[in-house]
Subunit: 323 residues, 2 copies
């Protein structure tokens, strides 16, 4: 006597629940076996019309829902162990669920993060997808956000600002210089690339880390505030893609968009000076590009962003806030 | 430079994050320290207008959100270890958030289940509260849903049907015989009482268990199907509150509502015959009333519910389904 909800789970999500701890999704709970590791827990939800556009492809939405959580695990130096999925749906629409589940399954294999369980509920409102992801680290080694110290070098992975520009393109607020640039930037908005390959280097060599999701400037300010330090940043050292370079001019407004746009899902790390070479070498081995953009300093003032002339860049909004 | 979202978290939820693993809610992730226990994971979301009424008091909504998850942990024989909270809000309304957070804090202390972290997002639609709860059991001892065997006695805790009648009263589909009965039944709908006190007895003596959330008849059918067995039940043995007794007459429609109404958050257990006395004694020590309502049997037919004359009760809908 399976209900519609049970049918939906059996059809679309049971094939993804390959871990024995998922118990084939027939139980009320999943189990993660005892191990010598600390368990790192993170949860991020995405809401239709807020975190993704109703017109985004279902496969891209699935990837975003899982990957924003994998990005948090990577920032903590953790190895993925599995995830729980909560879906709030208006209806059980096969044309959405089939590609959504397929993409989620492909990603869960690629990142070694199996589906362990979840909940499916109906909602009369916008769709919402909430993922709770689990990772493991050796006891006591989770990399914290609040451990940055004066003198630590500030390092960021990948390129910054692409996703914000991609959203601008999708929403008609900007025009790309070519179709290829447009596709690249929109792809960066729709499909985060969690830096899981960098997790081991972060755990081994970074003193503090977080992922950049709400905007580099704001997230850096949060890391500094949590750690009780400030920082001096070289805005010209912030790594940008060629597509982003081509789109922006040198106006303050464009730089503001790059530094505070959000949805980057890159890693922001504080690395002690004597660990920097080891970190850079480990990053190179993992094939993730990283760039040193500044240095932490004593004090509790807001971090300073300096331009090519050493003048402070004035940022009017540092990051995205929901309220 | 705290954003509105960070302000909200610091103001309302940081006081609840007393566990060192919560890291004061300043990090992107929480940590559960390595231990010799298996970790039991469960997640349940509640949506405004679907799982609770917009007019329900904020404190009751908080308690329901956490307790439906504590109920799952109890059914698995697990001791609570903590929870993650995801809130999707239309706005940061203090008149909602203050009593909501206060009630959540009181419950988290009462049940020994501290807030470890979470996510707060905005939504243009109905409010949604998603909780992921963690519990611990000795390795390999999580009590499964799919382990029921022929001959096992079927036991249920507390009383069944109160919450369904409470919802009927709230929605004007029924009238109570007294104000006291009305208040009792509505309370049973609004504020589940997770049977955490019974968890140890379940782990020690039950072969299979699940919580009753979608309706006793449907949940029992799920347990039988998952276990590859059937069962014969005595409908007259299903424990009912005096308030429920006073409300219903003996019509099949009323019995149907009791057996399939849902929101009971009682525990349904399969107990091997030679463990029954020990289970009943342990339940008595925990002060949770339990009742034996039937016996599992070989076969894959739907479970049979028999009335006082030994005639099969015909149930047209076994449980609530979202789709």
């Amino acid at each position: 006597m399976p209900s519609g909800e049970d049918d939906l789970i059996a059809r679309y999500f049971k094939p993804l629940a390959t871990d024995p701890g998922a118990r084939g999704l027939v139980d009320d709970a999943a189990v993660l076996a005892a191990s010598g590791s600390d368990l790192v827990l993170t949860t991020d939800a995405i809401v239709e019309g807020v975190h993704y556009l109703p017109t985004d492809p279902p496969a891209a939405i699935a990837r975003k829902a899982l990957r924003v959580n994998l990005s948090d695990l990577a920032a903590k130096g953790a190895t993925p162990a599995g995830f729980l999925l909560t879906l709030a749906l208006r209806n059980a629409d096969e044309s959405f669920l089939a590609p959504f589940a397929e993409a989620l399954g492909t990603d869960s294999l690629a990142y070694g993060c199996p589906l362990l369980g979840g909940d499916t509920v109906s909602t009369p409102g916008p769709m919402m997808i909430s993922v709770t992801a689990f990772g493991r680290v050796p006891p006591g080694t989770m990399v914290r956000r609040d451990a940055l110290q004066p003198g630590d070098r500030i390092v960021v992975s990948g390129t910054i600002g692409d996703a914000a520009l991609g959203l601008d393109l999708l929403q008609g607020r900007a025009v790309a210089t070519s179709e290829a640039d447009r596709a690249f930037l929109i792809g960066r908005y729709r499909e985060p690339q969690p830096r899981s390959a960098l997790a081991e280097a972060v755990r081994a060599h970074a003193r503090a880390a977080m992922d950049v999701s709400d905007g580099l400037a704001g997230d850096l300010a949060k890391m500094c505030a949590a750690s009780g330090v400030t920082a001096v940043l070289d805005a010209t050292a912030v790594p940008m893609s060629l597509a982003a370079h081509r789109m922006i001019n040198s106006s303050a407004a464009a730089l503001q968009r790059i530094l505070s746009g959000g949805d980057d899902y890159e890693l922001l790390c504080g690395v002690a000076a004597d660990q920097l070479d080891s970190f850079l070498a480990a990053a190179q081995r993992s094939s993730v590009p990283v760039a040193v953009i500044g240095t932490a300093a004593s004090g509790t003032a807001a971090p300073q962003w300096l331009d090519a002339n050493g003048c402070e860049v004035s940022l009017t909004a540092l990051s995205y806030s929901h309220f």
